[in-house]
């Protein structure tokens, strides 16, 4: 945005003044806390489900994960943690990567990764619930 020779003499503040706040500045902050709170009961439920399934054969595991209550809890778990981890990793990237282009590419890759993990997990869970 800022070249060595400015194209105009208006200050950055003057250029944005009057446009109003975007009012979305705290969205990530809020969603990070929202998903953090959601993650607490979901992790407890997830740990109970995993302990119930330890050492069981595939048929039993698939049957339990296909139960409506278990499937819905696991879907909520996957969505909440992938949203939470996307924001968390973006903060880490913004803290340590200072090259603008590399930073943008990494923030994009972060979203791609989180969406891919979420969709792969959701695909597995839906297949377990609806059977194929």
């Amino acid at each position: 945005m800022s070249d060595a020779v400015p194209k105009h003499i208006r200050t950055p503040l003057a250029r944005v003044r009057g446009h109003g706040a975007a009012r979305s500045g705290t969205k990530d902050f809020w969603v990070q806390r929202l998903t953090a709170v959601a993650n607490i009961p979901l992790i407890i439920a997830g740990v109970v489900i995993i302990i119930m399934l330890l050492g069981r054969n595939q048929a039993y595991v698939a049957q339990v994960l296909g139960l409506p209550l278990v499937g819905i809890i696991m879907l909520l778990f996957v969505v909440s943690i992938t949203v939470h981890m996307r924001i968390g990793m973006q903060v880490v990237i913004e803290d340590y990567v200072h090259d603008e282009l590399v930073k943008l590419v990494m923030i994009m890759a972060n979203t791609f990764f989180c969406v891919a993990v979420a969709m792969a997990s959701i695909y597995g869970l839906l297949k377990l619930s609806f059977g194929l």
Partner: protein
């Protein structure tokens, strides 16, 4: 996206290297590291779900991994990271209400976070190994 270039290379403010390590500071760093570890660990969760959905052979490959020494070590580390990050998250939620920020409280919370995460992880693994033994 305002990118301002410094006109000259000025000295930067001192970073971690000049501070004496403190428990609260180490817990802050560990919270971030466990978060990053859990981020990549979700691949294992996705693999588990896809393996269960794929059938006997696919699930067998996952069980081969989860039953191996390396797999067990990774899953033990993942359990601890999950519990530690969860307790650390609760600590942050307490701080968000403005409580627990006093000198004694924050030390106590940091210690409770560490001790709690280790204790809960060990208890979960004992329960898990007992469940594994009884299901065979």
């Amino acid at each position: 996206m305002a990118e301002t270039k410094a006109p000259a290379a000025r000295p930067l403010s001192p970073h971690l290297q000049i501070y004496k390590p403190m428990l609260t500071m180490m817990m802050s760093i560990v919270h971030r590291i466990t978060g990053v570890a859990l981020y990549f660990g979700t691949i294992i969760v996705a693999w588990w779900l896809l393996a269960a959905a794929s059938g006997v052979n696919g699930y067998g490959r996952f069980e081969w991994f989860s039953g191996s020494i390396i797999g067990r070590l990774i899953l033990f580390g993942y359990t601890w990271a999950l519990i530690h990050h969860a307790l650390g998250g609760i600590r942050h939620l307490i701080w968000d209400t403005g409580r627990g920020l006093g000198p004694n409280e924050r030390e106590w919370l940091a210690a409770a976070n560490l001790i709690g995460s280790i204790a809960i992880t060990v208890v979960l693994w004992i329960i898990g190994l007992l469940a594994l033994g009884s299901s065979r």
